[in-house]
Symmetry: C2
Subunit: 209 residues, 2 copies
């Protein structure tokens, strides 16, 4: 009997099929819905076979995380082409917020859930790579603006500037993701909140904006 022709999905190595199935699950139903058995059910394997490719659930989630970090950095890399560093900064902020709000589950996993720290050995992603490390992108752009003397003189530490910009945008996104449905707070339109924060950061940090 000839071997049944494999579908495209079945040709993929199992490791990536596991990641994809797990991602599908948690993107559509949230992290709580991701169970080893459900992942296995989706790809037609037994749950234990996942352990042939990942040490444990943590590792699997970190692998997903890794591809998501790459996704974010990739989506932003075109910004590095923009000439004006101030425009770059604005675009990066916009892109970051878009990513967070259109992929809330990814965002939660990436930036709102504590994991074991990513050590350089266990991770394939290259730190300080302009197309793989979104934080490096931010740092670089801030550094360029800093070198061009765009910031007010009281801000003399580019890395601190970068981390403050990140914190500001993260605050808006994180509150939106966890608390948007909460009617305790009479939330203003998310676009207004984003705009106000960006305005505040830019105006506060830059000499003229």
């Amino acid at each position: 009997m000839p071997p049944r022709i494999k579908t495209e999905a079945e040709k993929q190595p199992l490791r990536t099929r596991i990641i994809d199935a797990a991602r599908d699950l948690f993107v559509s139903q949230g992290i709580e819905a991701v169970s080893m058995r459900e992942i296995a059910r989706r790809i037609g394997y037994s749950a234990t076979s996942i352990y042939l490719h990942f040490a444990d659930k943590e590792s699997l989630l970190r692998a997903i995380c890794e591809t998501d970090f790459l996704m974010l950095a990739s989506a932003q890399k075109h910004i590095l082409e923009i000439a004006d560093p101030v425009e770059q900064l604005a675009a990066l902020g916009q892109g970051y917020v878009r990513f967070a709000l259109s992929h809330p589950n990814h965002y939660r996993l990436m930036f709102m859930t504590p994991h074991e720290p990513f050590t350089p050995e266990t991770i394939k992603l290259q730190q300080n790579h302009p197309e793989q490390d979104a934080y490096f992108q931010l740092k670089s752009i801030v550094q360029m603006a800093f070198d061009a003397k765009k910031f007010k003189p009281e801000f003399n530490d580019p890395e601190l500037i970068a981390q403050t910009i990140w914190a500001g945008m993260h605050g808006v996104c994180a509150l939106e993701i966890t608390m948007a449905k909460d009617c305790w707070v009479n939330w203003r339109d998310i676009e207004a909140r984003i705009h106000t924060m960006q305005h505040l950061l830019m105006n506060g940090l830059l000499k003229c904006y």
Copy 2:
């Protein structure tokens, strides 16, 4: 045989003993360590007896959350006595950050974990009560500063101002709580990050600070 003299703890109604045991657990070992069976073990009851006081684990966690919200608001209520609204704002920010960083597990449960929305029926906490609602405290102080024409003219919506201040401080705290151990980022000192954010918010929003 006479009934054994009850200890002080045993005299407490069971409901609060459950909450306290659960809080103890998750403060010291994180939310993952909180299981119905472990809570019960600690207070010497069977796990199912918890269900006589709480519909499910969610409800129990919400009850903890509620007492924590009260804790935060209580810790801040003295600020309402301060005369100058700008000083009030600064003190409120400081207090908020202190709370977040000294009670990270509480903070995560309160502001970084999605729950079912708190409806006015299911909650004992009074919304818009100056000693029970920390968000109301923020709103009030912002409103006072707004009425005193302390903000720059381009910021004309006090609630939006309040939400932006919150987002800024939350961003710093939330990143610290989830990512402090992550050596991917060369984190600046948390005090510097807090100070920079506060400086930025105050300088950006207020006419003169």
